[in-house]
């Protein structure tokens, strides 16, 4: 267990607890948007993909990185857009006609 592992573990444990607290408060009404939003957030693996694709370490690595960037960026874009599209549908009052 080196120092960086200890730090990472603290961050992970805290984030997991926080996730539990925050997500268990999401009303059932919004569980489908929740799935697509977390899907978009999990596309944070884009960060690792960008570093791989841009660091020119080896041609094969750049290609793998580029594929990873495309795949995770599709999730970022798609995830946020569809979540917003769904949420736009939720309204309290009758829409004016």
């Amino acid at each position: 267990m080196d120092d960086s592992l200890t730090n990472s573990l603290y961050v992970f444990v805290l984030a997991a607890f926080l996730g539990y607290q925050v997500i268990s408060r999401v009303s059932v009404l919004l569980h489908t948007p929740l799935m697509s939003l977390t899907n978009a957030i999990a596309a944070i693996s884009l960060v690792g993909s960008l570093i791989l694709a841009g660091s020119a370490q080896a041609p094969y690595a750049t290609v793998m990185g580029a594929v990873a960037v495309a795949a995770s960026f599709a999730n970022v874009v798609g995830g946020f857009l569809i979540t917003d599209r769904m949420l736009k549908m939720f309204k309290t009052r009758e829409p004016a006609k």
Partner: protein, 478 residues
């Protein structure tokens, strides 16, 4: 003061202002993701939540692009364009009923990215990395690749490319466990002996195969639960990437996603009154098709759209119970018209939402919201169940299991113990469905045979359309 200290520090620690900026951007980004999920808790703040998430992601991207490791932007630019070109239509052209498939497909993409990054990292630096980083890469790669093929399988089952029926054979769990054990063993060996790189392709192959085998025995209808679980795995693999790259932002975002997936799948299991193991190893859907044969003998009462319209019109209060059938026939807009027509006549119309009606958590809410039905008309099961006895008509549209009274009474039923909507307590029950076939759980429903129940046979969309026409005075014959 702290800023001063920071600047003074720079000279000593050799960190540049850019690096400090990146650290800062990542921290704000993490806060953005947290606020995003926090605001999603209520419809009134939910869209602000999406904005917070977008800002978080934007900061993460900008911060990363400023890193000094990144020297070559060409491939990144091309890949981003391709990604956007794929992501936009996936979001905007998709029908709302296809949300489960879309989610499965995008988990596959995300998991693939994690797997690829882990693989490249291993080949590039495997021999110099610490054991901790190697262990993290092991988690990342295993979770990534199994989620990749697993999600593709789930996608295939939901989209109908692959049979939705569970495929079972003797010794299946043994085979699966064996494959998984082998891939974990290889991963462990590689951590200790990172120079044995020739084993890495085996690790990838076994894990990919395991992902497929994992999903084969699970019925198509259990896919939503599995998708939530795979969502969790995708998050954990992003977290593992964070451990490997010592990047806190990845750890946090991944952990948030991981818990979300886990919580949702637990909620679904609970609402279906089933255990995790039952979902993962049960082959639940296999029984489904077989049981519904002997049903037609008992008699039911069936009425026409005209009669339905009349009865609805003359009632004071109606509770509509939508289910999977409304989703597949895309009847939500017609239901909206029915709601309008009845409301105009002074009938009090509400919707009873069962947590696992349909095939996704919150499925009915999204569909009805799509049809512009105000969400304060959608009442949760716990709240509305006491209202049925005072209600004139419970109108069941394409729902079945969620109104099956045997869940309350019949200990032998596979859905025994699942909380249900008490439609049977209403004065009159009307059920729109195409025939007498069973729902997801494959069990007969006594509700249909009650004296006060009318069956309204037909496709949900068509039938409701007919009722609406009746109500607006334009008769079908015209």
């Amino acid at each position: 003061m702290s800023l001063l200290a920071t600047v003074a520090e720079e000279a000593v620690s050799g960190r540049t202002t850019v690096e400090n900026f990146i650290d800062f951007a990542y921290l704000i980004s993490a806060i953005g993701f947290i606020m995003s999920l926090k605001w999603l808790s209520h419809p009134s703040t939910a869209r602000k939540g999406v904005k917070a998430g977008e800002i978080g992601m934007l900061l993460a991207i900008i911060g990363t692009l400023m890193k000094h490791e990144i020297v070559e932007y060409r491939w990144i630019a091309i890949a981003l364009v391709i990604g956007a070109a794929g992501g936009v239509p996936l979001a905007l052209l998709m029908k709302m009923t296809a949300v489960p498939q879309r989610t499965a497909f995008s988990h596959a993409l995300g998991a693939l990215a994690a797997g690829l990054v882990g693989t490249a990292e291993f080949y590039l630096h495997g021999d110099t990395l610490s054991k901790v980083a190697l262990t993290a890469i092991g988690f990342e790669v295993v979770l990534g690749y199994l989620t990749f093929t697993g999600s593709l399988m789930a996608f295939g089952k939901l989209q109908g490319f692959i049979t939705g029926k569970p495929i079972l054979y003797p010794g299946q769990n043994f085979v699966n466990l064996g494959i998984f054990g082998a891939s974990v063993a290889i991963a462990g060996y590689l951590v200790v002996n990172p120079t044995a790189a020739h084993l890495f392709p085996w690790l990838i192959a076994l894990t990919l195969v395991f992902g497929v085998f994992l999903i084969i025995p699970i019925g198509g209808a259990d896919m939503p639960t599995v998708i939530a679980l795979l969502n969790g795995y995708a998050g954990l693999s992003a977290s593992a990437m964070g451990f490997a790259l010592d990047n806190k932002l990845l750890i946090i975002a991944g952990a948030l996603d991981g818990t979300s997936g886990l919580i949702l799948s637990i909620i679904m299991c609970k609402a279906m009154n089933r255990s995790f193991t039952n979902v993962l190893f049960g082959g639940f859907g296999a029984v489904a098709q077989s049981k519904s044969g002997a049903v037609e003998e008992r008699s039911v009462r069936s009425i026409s759209p005209e009669e339905t319209a009349q009865m609805l019109e003359n009632s004071d209060s109606v509770i509509i119970i939508p289910g999977y059938g409304m989703a597949v026939s895309q009847a939500q807009h017609k239901v909206r018209e029915l709601y309008d027509a009845l409301s105009k006549r002074g009938v009090d119309v509400r919707f009873a939402i069962h947590p696992v009606a349909g095939r996704m958590p919150g499925h009915m809410n999204v569909l009805l919201a799509e049809a512009d039905i105000p969400y304060d008309r959608l009442i949760d099961m716990d709240e509305i169940n006491s209202e049925f006895p005072q209600t004139d008509v419970a109108l069941v549209i394409g729902a079945n299991d969620v109104v099956n009274p045997s869940a309350r009474t019949d200990k032998t039923s596979p859905i025994y113990g699942m909380p249900i909507l008490n439609a049977d307590a209403a004065q009159t029950v009307m059920v729109v469905k195409r025939g007498m076939s069973a729902g997801f759980a494959g069990v007969e429903n006594d509700l249909f045979f009650m004296d006060k129940t009318m069956m309204l046979f037909g496709d949900a969309k068509g039938y409701i359309a007919d009722v609406v026409k009746e109500l607006s005075g334009v008769h079908a014959g015209h």
